[in-house]
């Protein structure tokens, strides 16, 4: 549904996008994550035909965004980060106006997003959460197959976020493709099929969530020893095929292993052989947040 190749966008001398590439397949929920200012909204503006790329290829629904004369030719539903409505219109009037025909089933849409009771209320009096939900209804007014949602759950309270994520899951069940940006990583873990991380205008990572979890979310053991680690302990252990990474700090040892079961047995054997009593051992798995921070830090280190 979306293919971006080597996309660049500059504003004067500032390069907002520096060669990003990504692919969004039909029927998937794609989480586009990045810090504020990473280039998420710039990418989305280009995807929706609201902004023009400096260079690179960008195809949406089979159309090259450079070839369109009007954003509507891309046949997408779009929810901006801060959806701007006419404060003096009611929710029902807003959807009727956006539908363009006056015949859209706005009542059903408003009911689906939980705004049926507010259909005759002016949008100016809506809370942030209500505006986001109305924005989702507006994006769906022409029943498009592809939805582009810019930070749909940001700045919402937990209940509002939960509602928005439920709506996104329901969109997938209806066969829609959803490309949404966020910096709330737990949201991505809850609904996405594929994750793309953008930092400083470049793509740092793009993978299906399950593959990402399999590859990057590996077990980590935090051990506390009865006495300080011997100087050669980390060097001795790090070359073993089970070990991915190892860090030591006085009496603490953090070991990242490929396999939790085999790794824990092997680790305890190694410590017993060296007569190093263990005070505590805990296992945890890195979250998407850990991966994100690592990727972003990697970018910043590289940039520095």
């Amino acid at each position: 549904m979306i293919i971006i190749q080597d996309l660049h966008k500059s504003f004067g001398s500032f390069a907002a996008l520096r060669g990003i590439s990504l692919t969004v397949r039909r029927g998937e929920i794609y989480g586009f994550i990045g810090q504020n200012g990473a280039g998420k909204t710039t990418t989305m503006n280009i995807l929706t035909g609201l902004s023009h790329p400096t260079s690179g290829n960008c195809r949406v629904n089979g159309r090259d965004v450079r070839s369109i004369r009007h954003p509507s030719e891309l046949q997408i539903g779009y929810l901006p980060e801060n959806p701007a409505f006419y404060a003096w219109m009611t929710a029902g009037e807003t959807l009727t106006y956006l539908s363009g025909t006056g015949k859209a089933d706005t009542g059903r849409l408003l009911e689906w997003v939980g705004l049926a009771d507010a259909a005759k209320r002016k949008v100016g009096g809506f809370s942030r959460g209500m505006r986001q939900r109305l924005g989702i209804a507006a994006a769906l007014v022409h029943d498009p197959d592809l939805l582009i949602l810019d930070e749909p759950s940001s700045a919402l309270d937990p209940e509002g976020r939960s509602d928005v994520l439920r709506l996104i899951r329901e969109l997938k069940q209806r066969g829609k493709t959803v490309f949404f940006s966020t910096h709330i990583l737990s949201d991505v873990e809850r609904v996405c099929d594929t994750v793309g991380i953008i930092a400083g205008g470049t793509m740092r990572l793009e993978k299906p969530l399950l593959e990402l979890q399999r590859q990057h979310i590996v077990p980590v053991f935090d051990l506390r020893l009865a006495r300080p680690c011997p100087p050669d302990l980390a060097d001795d252990l790090k070359n073993h095929p089970l070990v991915l990474a190892i860090e030591e700090n006085e009496d603490q040892l953090t070991v990242t292993v490929r396999d939790a079961a085999a790794g824990s047995v092997w680790l305890m054997e190694q410590l017993a052989t060296r007569n190093l009593p263990v005070v505590s051992l805990t296992q945890h798995t890195p979250t998407l947040e850990d991966i994100f921070i690592r990727e972003v830090n990697g970018h910043e280190t590289g940039r520095a």
Binding site: T41, N45, T48, G49, L50, S51, H52, R69, H70, P71, S72, I76, G77, Y78, P80, N82, P83, A84, F85, Y86, W88, M89, E93, T96, Y97, L98, S99, G100, T101, G102, G135, A138, A139, V141, H142
Partner: protein, 260 residues
């Protein structure tokens, strides 16, 4: 297009745009005859002891015609200001606030959006000056005498109305160019006053939209040769401004974050 026209009508009604324009024009339409008949003579006589009504009538045109000319002068000087400030956000505010982003993504065409604004507010501006001039004509006729025919007054009102439509197209263009309501309003206002001053100084009003105002102030049924020039140049001006507005909108980058 129908939905865009409905939207503009709702905007005009719910944000009191029509009310502000009508209230201003009708206020001056009623106030001007009273000012010339009652207030002004009293003020001048109190300031200048010994001044008689006869002398005052020699100094000022205290007839229905004089009232109508006074009103039309106010209409241009103050009315232009009110129109510019009331309608300066018609397009500029929409661009500034990003309220056009969702309509654009929902399939609204620039032409439909702009033409709906021009149609709804253009019609209001075309009719309101004529209507208020008619009110002024009737009230001035009651206070003084009916010395001017109704038909020339209606024609004068229409010519003034057409000039305000030209001003509206200018507001839309400056709104698209500057994207800031007040800047668009003030630029259009300065251009309007400047055009009139230039036309008067260089005697070019026959070839400018401001010629409509000159023709209106004659308060006679103008000959075809007198009004066709200013009317044609105004219609062409509105068309060119609208085309440039659409061209500008097509080239704009949308959904940009407001500069902080």
């Amino acid at each position: 297009m129908k939905q865009d026209v409905l939207k503009e009508l709702r905007y005009g009604l719910r944000n009191n745009r029509f009310l502000i324009l009508a209230a201003f024009m009708l206020f001056f339409a009623i106030a001007t005859p009273v000012m010339i008949k009652v207030v002004l003579p009293q003020v001048m006589m109190s300031q200048m002891p010994g001044l008689t009504m006869e002398t005052l009538e020699q100094m000022m045109d205290m007839t229905q015609r004089g009232v109508l000319l006074g009103y039309m002068g106010d209409q241009f000087e103050i009315g232009s200001l009110v129109i510019a400030l009331t309608l300066c956000g018609l397009l500029a505010q929409e661009i500034h606030d990003n309220t056009l982003v969702l309509p654009l993504c929902s399939g609204k065409r620039f032409a439909s959006i702009v033409l709906a604004k021009l149609l709804v507010f253009g019609l209001a501006l075309l009719l309101l000056p004529g209507l208020s001039l008619l009110v002024c004509y009737l009230y001035a006729g009651l206070l003084f005498d009916f010395t001017v025919g109704l038909a020339p007054v209606l024609v004068s009102g229409l010519l003034q109305g057409l000039f305000t439509v030209f001003m509206l197209s200018g507001l839309l263009l400056t709104g698209a160019l500057l994207k800031k309501p007040i800047a668009a309003g003030l630029t259009t206002l300065l251009a309007t006053y400047g055009l009139y001053a230039l036309g008067s100084l260089l005697k070019l009003n026959t070839y400018l939209p401001t010629g409509l105002l000159v023709e209106a102030q004659k308060l006679t049924l103008p000959a075809f040769g007198d009004w066709i020039g200013p009317v044609a140049i105004t219609v062409v001006g509105v068309a060119v401004f609208t085309y440039l507005t659409l061209l500008r909108l097509r080239r704009l980058e949308w959904n940009a974050r407001a500069a902080t």
